[in-house]
């Protein structure tokens, strides 16, 4: 799966989870850019991504996510 395709699917997960069709993510997106992205929604986001891509994150991977770009890099590595 290409990085672009992963980005598109992660964006759809964001839109479903935060119930907001106007969300557009890019590599530099952080929790500050998405309303309601708090620690509770963060874990829901992680779980939704894991289910959608049938992958599992390690705790160390999640704690090192500085932005959506890091997250997409990790997902792309895991699914390819």
């Amino acid at each position: 799966m290409t990085r672009e395709k992963v980005t598109g699917e992660v964006q759809n997960i964001f839109r479903d989870l935060f119930d907001d069709e106007s969300i557009v993510i890019d590599d530099n997106t952080t929790a500050d850019d998405v309303e309601d992205w708090d620690s509770l929604e963060h874990i829901n986001l992680i779980t939704s991504i894991e289910k959608h891509f049938s992958i599992k994150f390690a705790m160390s991977e999640v704690t090192h996510f500085k932005n959506v770009g890091n997250m997409i890099d990790t997902i792309t590595t895991k699914v390819s």
């Binding site: 119930d19 309601d36 708090d38 620690s39 509770l40 929604e41 874990i43 992680i46 779980t47 894991e50 705790m59 160390s60 999640v62 704690t63």
Partner: protein, 472 residues
């Protein structure tokens, strides 16, 4: 040496003056000396304990970094030892053992001042080294500064090694703007503590010391509200002084409060109150537990919330009221997690100002009630006060307070709101103060000094009331 004493002011003045004049190379070692002297003033044996504790963690970090296998086991052993030591001191187990051996002759071994705070510093340092977030500090003298640093040693903030250690290596030059900002924070802290926090304490303490003093539920509501105000003014004042002294020494410490009473939920409150502790627990307890339980849906947040906040309660002290305080906060945060989605939907349908005002009022009322348990020491007393507050038939406007109480109360609210506005504007307020012309700056300082002299809670026989959080 309490921060709001003349001794401390003289100590800081001498330390800052000498520090600024010393050559760069000696500056870090002078901070160690000053910190150990500060700690020595508490108890003569205390510097030995803190050096030994720092050395243990310094060595274990090096071991962890070199360890190829069984890293987690080494980490677990090191952290467990610190935590066990914490509970042994906290619950006076040493005293019990000595009494058992000597047949009742007890030697009081006190809980080392600030151990709760520098233990957290060391534990997070070891976890961060283990996770590769930071490299182990190669110099013990620098690590010793981190652990013993006198503006933080007694009550925090719990600054992370990753934020502090690199600052030791930055060249410290005489910076009049930083000195001015630091002095302004110290003066603001003194003003909040001596004029308001201690004055409020003197008015509400008689009620907490004698629960029969009033049967009016409305009066007890004011007393409970007064303690929450006192706690904020007291602890935020300490933090202002701590950060102010650090600024004068050339160290930037992250804020510990960010307008907590403007929070619209209990979860938000804990992101803005005692930030260095709550973010520590969020990073090292709540988030790992939440991640571990992530497949359990809402329980993935409920269980970690209950565990984390119960730990906050136990960290404060070994009494039933702290346990009730922590567990109640855990329940409230868990409820926040359960209703989070509904709240968000409601937020979209209601006018923004109405939603935020109702949120702030509800959060404040819940805090007023739960923080009663932080004050009482015994859970039964806390429940008795809650019972009095909820006995609405006893509510009367004949509160039994003098005019002075209401004046102090109203002014304390005004000062707390000012403090919140300053916190929410981050550094803008301090930057603006530093840009004022020198005569204006000194005029402000003179007004503060006169306010403290004229209205401060002191006088013949006055002994500065200890900061509340120094007991934790």
């Amino acid at each position: 040496m309490t921060f709001t004493t003349l001794y401390f002011l003289v100590f800081v003045a001498v330390v800052v003056l000498v520090y600024l004049l010393l050559p760069q190379k000696i500056k870090p070692h002078f901070i160690i000396l000053a910190s150990l002297v500060f700690y020595f003033f508490w108890k003569a044996w205390a510097p030995v304990f803190i050096i030994a504790f720092a050395l243990f963690n310094f060595v274990m970090a090096k071991v962890l970094a070199k360890q190829k296998s069984k890293k987690f086991f080494v980490l677990l052993m090191s952290v467990s030892l610190s935590v066990i030591l914490f509970f042994v001191f906290r619950y006076g187990i040493f005293n019990g053992i000595i009494a058992a051996i000597t047949g009742g002759n007890t030697i009081m071994i006190l809980f080392p001042l600030g151990f709760s705070y520098y233990m957290f510093k060391c534990v997070s340092y070891l976890i961060d080294v283990n996770n590769g977030t930071i490299a182990p500090e190669p110099r013990f003298d620098y690590f010793l500064i981190y652990v013993t640093y006198f503006p933080e040693v007694s009550m925090g903030p719990i600054t992370r090694a990753v934020d502090f250690l690199p600052q030791i290596r930055i060249k410290k030059v005489i910076d009049t703007t930083a000195l001015n900002k630091g002095l302004a924070l110290v003066a603001w802290g003194f003003f909040k503590k001596i004029v308001f926090a201690d004055m409020l304490a003197s008015m509400i303490n008689p009620y907490y010391n004698d629960l029969t003093l009033s049967n009016n539920g409305f009066a007890w509501f004011f007393v409970a509200f007064g303690f929450l105000l006192q706690l904020y003014l007291d602890f935020s004042a300490y933090t202002n002084i701590s950060i102010g002294v650090s600024k004068m020494l050339g160290y930037d410490i992250k804020p510990n409060f960010n307008a907590p009473f403007f929070s619209q939920s209990i979860s938000e409150f804990w992101r803005k109150w005692h930030i260095s502790l709550s973010s520590w627990l969020a990073d090292y307890v709540f988030t790992p537990l939440q991640f571990l339980l992530r497949r359990l849906g809402k329980f993935a947040s409920i269980i970690p919330a209950l565990i984390t906040f119960t730990l906050i309660g136990v960290w404060h002290g070994g009494t039933s009221s702290y346990l009730v305080f922590g567990f109640s906060m855990g329940v409230l945060v868990a409820i926040d997690a359960i209703v989070a989605r509904k709240r968000k939907k409601l937020k979209k349908t209601l006018p923004k100002s109405l939603f935020s005002t109702v949120g702030i009022i509800i959060t404040m009322l819940l805090n007023i009630l739960v923080f009663v348990f932080m004050r009482t020491g015994v859970a039964a007393d806390g429940f008795a006060i809650i019972d009095k507050i909820f006995s609405f038939s006893t509510w009367s406007l004949q509160l039994g307070f003098g005019l002075e109480f209401f004046i102090i109360f109203a002014l304390s609210i005004a000062v707390a709101i000012c403090s919140h506005i300053i916190e929410s504007r981050k550094d803008k307020f301090l930057d603006g103060f530093a840009r004022l012309k020198l005569p204006v700056t000194w005029l402000v300082y003179l007004v503060v000094i006169f306010a403290i002299v004229l209205f401060g809670y002191y006088g013949p026989g006055y002994d500065a009331i200890e900061f509340i959080y120094i007991g934790f």
